[in-house]
Amino acid sequence: MKSYDIVVIGGGPAGMAAALAAHKNQVKNILIIERDLELGGILNQCIHNGFGLHHFKKELTGPEYSNLVTLELQKTNIEIMTDSMVLKLDHDNDNKTVYAINGKLGLMKIKAKAIILAMGCRERTRGAIRIHGARPAGVYTAGTAQRLINIDGYMPGKKVVILGSGDIGLIMARRMTLEGAKVEAVLEIMPYSNGLTRNIVQCLNDFSIPLMLSHTVTKIHGKERVEGVSITKVDMNLCPIKTTEQFIPCDTVLLSVGLIPENEISRACGIMIDRKTAGPIVGELRQTSKEGIFSCGNVLHVHDLVDFVSEEGYLAGFGAAQYIHNNLNPDFTHTTIPGDGINTVVPQKINAKNITDNIKLFMRVKKVYTNCAINAYIGDKLIAHKKENKFLPAEMVSLTIKKEDLFNNTNAEILIKIEQI
């Protein structure tokens, strides 16, 4: 049975960053297990621009970002096992086992002192949001269509309706158009778009693609291949207004309706999951509820910018290294509580002893807030705040708390909430 100090599950940007950080912190034997043929994860199919502005101070495409990180990896002795799937984890305190499988070595049991979960996420499906009607070919989630086009070189369709105006939906509207398809409309159930304004300009306005806010797809038509969709306007409660129903002929429906962290392995191992983020409950160095197992990237909580994914990967890698060197204080001194207007906060727990200068909390707000501040309190004391013109659910926000503000308080709860300025 092979044995490593750290096994990283997932060789996308989160896993690669975690492995690099662990290596930089004197961990000797590190293995990355990746299910695809190459490293890079979802970046390989994100051929558009906009990555790396923070992390590399350059504007890069997904593959270029992945390439730079892979080059760093190649300078180390970190082992990489591609085309391999992790099936299960066993956690028995000191003994952690990763069960992985590939065609060359069969089913393997790999021992690890620490494990870093970086499996990314999957897309929410038509079935999960219950769009009714027929079940023809031509209904794709945006990521699957993106893979078909950008990796396999095939067009998923010619006349498209896209549901979901988050960045993935917008990017795909442009990609399909560039490849000669006609995107009839991008529908968005909310009264505002979730995507970056620059994407609305570059992906929709540039090509005169209509953005229909407060609309959704209520039925898919077509026996063998999609023939069209019924769409309706929705009311304040997001319920379809039947009298507004109209039919748009098309042969393809792309769904960009949400990402779900892929934690089936984590759940099966008994790791505690936060119901709101759908990812593990973690501490300041991304340690999960199972000792020696860490988590980072989209599997922990869905990110918008890969730069933050890399930052989080470094945290988890550092945390795993500290654990291996017996420098990680277990238990927790503080808990973060999402208050008014705050949907999710990561990390959910903090051990102040493991922090050197300060700690960054990452959160998402529940709806659009203008002229507000995000405030963090311990008891009555305000310990950190952030003011912006606008807070959007689609943009993860970070809030920095100084270490001394944690130690100065014995109260264990940090309440984070939105307040009007």
């Binding site: 051929i47 621009n49 495409t61 997904g62 593959p63 390439n67 950008n150 490849e179 970056l196 620059r198």
Partner: protein
């Protein structure tokens, strides 16, 4: 009478709301938080430019296509011309990130470079 144009800057995720006064001989840009925004606003009115990212066919590679991009922004009106040219490009492995795949595409002075290997 003032001729005012509103637009959102797309240079970075801040997305400043810009206002351009076209009435005089020189364009006056307000609302930008940095100089890139000013440059973008003027360009967007006079000659809008975009970076184009796409894929081209490759033989002998791991996958049938590799990702490419324009090495700089090109005039927006040439986007589909460039896409048509790329449709007929076929390259052979090995290719490295940054290799020029097509020089001076559509007479823009800009190259098409590989972004994947």
């Amino acid at each position: 009478m003032k001729t005012l144009i509103n637009m959102t800057c797309i240079c970075c995720p801040l997305g400043c709301d810009l206002e351009i006064d076209k009435s005089g001989t020189e364009f006056i840009v307000t609302g930008n938080k940095c100089l890139r925004g000013k440059k973008y606003a003027i360009e967007e009115i006079t000659l809008p430019k975009r970076i184009v990212t796409s894929t081209v066919k490759i033989t002998g590679g791991r996958h049938p296509v590799i990702p490419v991009k324009t090495s700089a922004a090109i005039p927006k009106e040439k986007i589909f011309t460039i896409m048509d040219i790329l449709a007929n490009v076929e390259i052979t492995a090995p290719i490295n990130v940054g290799d020029v795949v097509v020089k001076n595409i559509a007479d823009t002075g800009v190259d098409i470079v590989a972004t994947g290997a």
